[in-house]
Symmetry: C2
Subunit: 352 residues, 2 copies
């Protein structure tokens, strides 16, 4: 049974506080968009798909308690609140695309005179609720396609060792996961020998969250620090790397957790296939290449401290970009809910 | 003024406890080889040159208080104690080579009938004391040669940005440092624009020790986590990487702190020169290639805990090799106290 990172039923939303994991399991009650913005910005929830779903669900909660009966006012409030939610983490694209879709929906419901204010509200909330089910369904498809692609590249019907970075599992999505969904599918197909997960400094999403999910699911796994990837590939036969994405540009360049670019270079050097697993909502055709993706820089104390404990020499400067860009040339394939694509084919795909 | 990691005068040895840095500055009194073994094994002191010097000095302290007047017994005790000291950290070669030299010295002093027991003791202790001065002198030469080589590869007389890994400064040597000695020389020559140092998980020697030395010396510096090297090379113009070595094999393959191999691959991808700075005592002509170097694996709790605080999910397995091997093909040059050499020329050099 997957970890439950989002507990939602109409009118009630709770999210698992990922900053307290793995030591404490505590849910935070979300009463509206302000709470939603806070849990995203403070990284109590993270992962591009989860950010989009939780942000939008926080709006659904707020709308349900809103007694407004003026559709124009509702439309305006929705647009303002969605823009506010998008501002909580600038690099993840999913919430931006979801917000655009929802603003379009609000516009058309508002313009359609046959729709009553109650129906507006009902249909708008139902549309947000649909994102939850769709995310799980999409992740399962990503898992199937990714499993297929990785097994196809193996000789014979042996087992495969896979490496992943950061956290892309149940905790980063509504359930199942993207890159971790692929690993889950390999395990379910009894073709996974072992998974290696990186610690993922400075926020340790790998050590805290991915390791937690892997232990929870009893998937054979080993933790390494981020600098061990090359040594691991040299001594163990790693069959594939699979990572998630915060935003994929039109040319296939991919923004993901800091360290992804480095792993891709090291994988190329060792001839290990390197896959990005991401739903179509992570692909941003409005951005032509990775160089144009804005990279969030986070505070220095995320690097210099673990909790209250200082781990770096006082007085040292830090550079703390949260993401980096992996060029399309280092990516073997992008695993989506519609199949696995070469990065350079995305443009044609979207044009169709 | 460099940090004082070793305080020695005849009969008295104190070493700086590097596990407590940067938060506490505390010296540990070493009364003999058992204390020496412990500070090396517990990593209260580290760095291949410092391990050799401190190990041998702990023997000098013990010998001074030894009232034996039988040269054969002394010779036997010396050999046993040196072998014991070498066992504290298996990957560093310097202490092994120093032990071999000292055992040879003890054999010849013991065999020479004109040497009294007192003279045996005096000459043996003086020989160990000579290692301290020689290490500082060698490091200064390494600094000069490394500075020269890096500046030669620059166009014009501009400033250079350099990246280093782990700690190779005053704290890893008797004083001045190897790779950090090169950086010190660049800074003294007013040709260093900036140095980037990696955190160096899991023991954080970069964040704790190198950052501490750089702040102490007012060298312009920025800390990054280990997974940021590729992103840094993409956005900043890095002129060279310079790292230390725990052991260099006859073919130029180099064992150094885990993560070095990964940085070398990433440097190659970005066409950044990659230098290893090490005294001749780190070169082991008895080992033909890196594949034959024994890699120490350290306990899991170094990865799962920071002090008493657990940072990884309970129940996860860990892999914790302390070193990796960088193949000679990724090394631009080996900076020694006798000049900078291509890795493939070491064999001819030693044959001469």
């Amino acid at each position: 049974m997957s970890l439950e990172s989002i507990r939602y039923k109409r009118g009630s939303l709770e999210v698992l506080d990922q900053l307290l994991l793995p030591l404490q399991t505590k849910y935070i009650k979300i009463e509206g968009v302000e709470d939603g913005w806070k849990v995203i910005n403070k990284m109590q929830v993270r992962g591009a798909p989860a950010i989009a779903i939780i942000g939008c669900l926080s709006l659904a909660i707020e709308l349900l308690n809103d007694n407004s009966s003026d559709k124009k006012v509702m439309r305006q409030e929705i647009e303002g609140k969605l823009n506010y939610l998008v501002s909580a983490r600038p690099t993840a694209v999913n919430i931006k695309l979801a917000a655009d879709d929802l603003i379009n929906l609000a516009n058309s419901l508002s313009a359609d005179e046959s729709v009553s204010p109650e129906e507006f509200k009902e249909r708008f909330i139902a549309s947000i609720e649909g994102m939850l089910a769709k995310d799980i369904e999409d992740n399962k498809a990503i898992g199937r396609y990714g499993c297929e692609a990785i097994l196809k590249s193996l000789e014979g019907d042996g087992l495969v060792r896979v490496l992943t970075h950061c956290n892309t599992g149940s905790l980063a999505t509504a359930e199942y996961g993207t890159a971790l969904g692929v690993i889950r599918s390999l395990h379910a197909a009894k073709r996974l020998e072992h998974v290696y997960c990186t610690e993922t400094r400075p926020y340790n999403q790998g050590a805290r969250l991915t390791a937690y999910e892997l232990v929870h699911e009893k998937i054979p796994a080993t933790l390494i620090v981020d600098s061990m990837v090359a040594a691991l590939m040299h001594v163990r036969n790693i069959g594939a790397v699979v990572v998630g994405a915060d935003r994929v540009a039109a040319n296939g360049d991919t923004a993901n957790k800091i360290g992804t670019y480095q792993i891709a270079i090291v994988a190329k050097y060792h001839n290990v296939p390197f896959y990005v697993a991401a739903p179509f909502t992570s692909i941003d055709m409005n951005i032509s290449s990775g160089e144009r993706i804005k990279i969030e820089e986070r505070p220095e104390n995320e690097m210099t401290h673990i909790g209250d404990r200082r781990i770096a020499a006082p007085g040292i400067n830090c550079w703390n970009p949260s993401f980096d860009i992996t060029p399309a040339s280092l990516i073997t394939g992008i695993i989506t809910e519609k199949g696995v694509f070469l990065p350079e084919t995305l443009k044609t795909l979207f044009a169709q």
